[in-house]
Amino acid sequence: MTYSRRKFLHHATASGCYVIAACAGLMTPGQVFAEWAEDYFSPGKLEHTLDRLFAGADIADSAAISLNLPLIAEDGAVVPIKVASTLSDVESIAILVEKNPVPLAAIFTLSENTEPFVSAQLKMAETCDVITVIKAGDKLYSARQQVKVTIGGCGG
């Protein structure tokens, strides 16, 4: 059976309207949640997490990122971090802890109504580097700093 152009267009328009209606019905305020990507948060090594996050794309060290972390954290359960950047068109900010069982702590997706700035608190299992990766204008930039942990954040 051949599928005529007229029939195709008719079906495409009808199903298109249906999809729009369904989305409109579902998207009531307070129910719109970003997807949670399970593979970003699977346990493993930092390199593997970065590969899953950015598909092996080049990440350049950047002086345009300011990373504000303590040099020594007395309590690994609460390590304050501030990330700010002078890069333009920042799309997302990821924060990773090198030696945590799950390296990715969080990834923030920004918009034109948010400054490239994030302040949060991390758990750190042991002394290691904290890395931030910023996606700006389809390029990846990163900064890192070591934090010495004197009491572990994972019951250690």
Binding site: W36, A106, S111, E115
Partner: protein, 106 residues
């Protein structure tokens, strides 16, 4: 059990948003000190910030964020009277939210 608090602070045309959520943020590898049983994972997975119903920031996270998470962001293009709302959802299906309108700077 969980409480969500937010505070808006307009400064020099930008708006600081501070978020404090009462949440255990258990990553699932801690043991109960008495029974030695694993404490089930219980952490916030997604957090969104919206301005008048439009999402302006979204975050994905897991158990490496500290217990009772605190976040601060700087928003721009927020006008007086705009409604800022924060929503979160955790891995056990619990959710929470808080909202506040930006008031005239005093």
């Amino acid at each position: 059990m969980t409480k969500t608090k937010i505070r808006l602070n307009a400064k020099n045309g930008k708006t600081e948003l501070k978020i404090l959520i009462a949440h255990p943020m258990e990553h699932g590898r801690n043991r109960d000190p008495e029974t030695q049983e694993l404490i089930p994972a219980h952490f916030i997975k997604t957090l969104t910030v919206s301005q008048n119903g439009k999402t302006i920031l979204s975050a994905q996270m897991a158990g490496s964020i500290s217990k009772n998470p605190y976040f601060a962001f700087w928003l721009k293009g927020i006008a007086n009277g705009d409604l800022i709302r924060v929503d979160w959802l955790d891995n056990q299906g619990l959710s929470g939210s808080a909202e506040q309108r930006l008031a005239e700077p005093s």
